[in-house]
């Protein structure tokens, strides 16, 4: 592995190795990669024939608008305290955002771990503490741990809005979509610490695409791009693990087991991408008492969606870029967002908004 402390000369050396002449489109699946690439300005370093495109790996961005609207219905109830990671706070809905509802009196609190939400439930027995459970396989195990804590200690005023998603079904949906043109995948390092590298093997086998599980430092990402370009040049498609310091082939068994204990896959709705088979997680029947939507009878709540002109779906699938959206940086900015991709710290639109200026000035 490369020395991760990069400077201008080591960067030059890596770039020398990326000497493929054909056009290569590489998708970074994970939102954390999108942000790291944008922040380090990696696109400025790459030759013009190598294109990086963002994928569907920002958990807040792929949350269906219907789910977001249901959260707002919950937040309006006076007996409810909503707990969430900070990213959800400014996600816009038809009636504003959680942050705006906070100003109107809704009790919304940022937590850094779902276990904090269980503690809050313990300390506020007269309130219902609802945790907004978004995220891929990286965060789901910690939510399962919180459920286990609540279950074992008999905390019954804690529930979750379960919006967890799975990475593999989304990749399958992308690969079977004829509109998407991707030659290689920069696979998510954090998710892979949980699921390992084996679940990705269908990608080179069935679809002949290059795959590298990558870390998050600029050096990791550049090295992974180099590995992908080599796979493509030699037509030697496989799953390579660049992030060996974090990812084992078999993943994290304990985390997978506890996830499986509390959650089961179901056909889930993704923002802008529609329903994807077995791509989401819901609570298993023996734990549905922790489902906030069922608890408050909102499963059939009619949710009105106003058309916004936001092209999130095509951005999440890597078909269009944020700059190609008519709303981008005009109607839609981090301060006045139209879609969640502009507010999330892993969103492709936010990454372009904050960091794309460097490419223009550097040109």
């Amino acid at each position: 592995m490369l020395n991760l402390k990069l400077n201008k000369s080591t960067v030059k050396n890596i770039l020398k190795g990326i000497n493929s002449k054909s056009n290569i489109r590489i998708m970074e699946v994970c939102g954390t990669h999108t942000m790291a690439i944008a922040r380090a300005g990696i696109k400025q370093l790459l030759p013009p024939n190598i294109e990086l495109i963002s994928g569907p790996g920002c958990p807040v961005c792929v949350t269906a608008q219907e789910d977001i609207e249901r959260i707002f219905l919950l937040a309006r109830k006076p007996e409810v305290i909503i707990t969430t990671f900070g990213d959800m706070l400014r996600v816009p809905g038809s009636t504003g955002s959680l942050q705006e509802m906070q100003a109107e009196g809704a009790d919304v609190r940022i937590v850094y771990s779902p276990l904090d939400a269980v503690n809050l439930a313990r300390n506020n027995p007269k309130k219902e503490i609802i945790f907004l459970a978004v995220g891929f396989e990286t965060t789901t195990p910690t939510v399962a741990l919180a459920l286990e804590d609540a279950y074992k200690t008999g905390v019954d005023n804690f529930s979750i809005v379960c919006m967890h998603k799975l990475v593999i079904p989304a990749l399958k949906a992308l690969l079977s979509d004829e509109e998407t043109e991707i030659h290689g995948f920069l696979l998510p390092g954090h998710v892979s610490t949980i699921i390992g590298t084996i679940p990705y093997e269908f990608i080179p086998r069935e679809y002949q695409r290059a795959c590298v599980v990558s870390g998050f430092e600029p050096g990791d990402i550049l090295e992974s791009i180099l590995l992908i370009s080599r796979q493509l040049e030699n037509a030697d498609y496989k799953v390579e693990n660049q992030y060996k310091r974090g990812v084992k082939t078999e993943g994290n068994k304990i985390a997978l087991e506890i996830m499986d204990k509390y959650f089961a896959p179901f056909n889930s709705l993704w923002r802008g991408m529609g329903e994807i088979k077995e791509s989401g997680l819901k609570l298993r029947p023996e734990y549905v008492q922790y489902d906030a939507i069922l608890k408050f009878g909102l499963e059939d709540a009619l949710v009105q969606l106003a058309p916004t002109g936001c092209i999130c779906g095509n951005i999440l699938k890597g078909i269009l870029k944020p700059e190609e959206c008519a709303l981008f940086s005009k109607m839609c900015t981090p301060a006045f967002p139209v879609g969640p991709c502009m507010v999330s710290s892993e969103g492709a639109c936010a990454a372009s908004y904050y960091y794309a200026g460097g490419e223009v000035i550097g040109r």
Binding site: L6, N7, K8, V11, R39, A40, G41, I42, Q44, L45, G86, D87, R90, I110, Y112, P218, T333, P334, A335, V343, S345, Y354, Y355, G357, G358, E359, I361, G362
Partner: protein, 348 residues
Amino acid sequence: MQLVIIMRGVKLLADEKILLSHGAGGLKTQRLIREVFQKNLGNAYLQQELDSALIKFSPHKMAFTTDSYVVSPIFFPGGDIGKLSVCGTVNDLAVMGAKPLYLTLGLILEEGLPVEELDKLMFSLGNTAREAGVQIVAGDTKVVEYGACDKIFINTAGIGIVPPNLDLRPQRMAPGDKIIVSGPVGNHGIAILAARENLDFSPPLASDCTYLNYLIEGILNTGASIKCMRDPTRGGLATTLNELAQQASLGIKLHEEALPVQPQVKGACSMLGLDPLYLANEGKVIIVVANKDARQVLEEIRKYDIGKNASIIGEVTDAHCSTVVMETELGTLRVLRMLEGDPLPRIC
């Protein structure tokens, strides 16, 4: 004999909680003033107990500023709301080149605040004021119902005297000027967040909350050609530099490898998805200085304990006007925009 009866009949003030009547202007108010405020902040001006302080006026230019403090929690590693409310206002005066002299103190207290906590805060406030060489010359206290504010809100206004012929404005910036920051950035924002959310970092992260007036006096006394100064509080270094670039209609180019950020702040930020360049500081100053004098100013700042990690972080340019750009360690360029939204409310 009478004395003993009084001692038995009246509870010690320090054991009490603030009540609405403490702000009613009657005997309780008077007792609070004498036993908490006079004790901790007392000086000749306050002892006069007049409706306003009467101060001698200098013929020089006067700097006059005000700031309100609502930080939560009110005690945090490296400081408290009392210390902060002196440092913040002193620094706003100092970066204009003024010698800070007098402060006023407005308090809004929540019913139920333990007097012991108020006493602690006033002790810290009084100490900081003495160390910074300023006097609290007038004050006011109001008490609001439980729930109408959060423990204590403080306003301080401050007056300072500006030496003659000193002209510090962003409009004086010119291409080629160097930009210096007096030390590592982001500590206050992270320390407040950690204290509020009970995040344990080891070693614990402390706020950089401090007064900068002596350091700044030292800088000005070098005779260097200082163009302007500003303290990067809310919005952090990146937002403050954007303000300067916009007001000067010039560009600013930073060098990532020169930016001082403590490793534990960097680590906490990457864990929490924050950027230290956008986090508040409460004891740092940005100095824009003519290129020829930059080294001399840097050496002067490094003589002070609070400036020992100062660094020249970039320069003013006439390229990319009104925009702040950072050259990353990889040699790429990153635009640093103004802060949008509010990652951390109530940090000061």
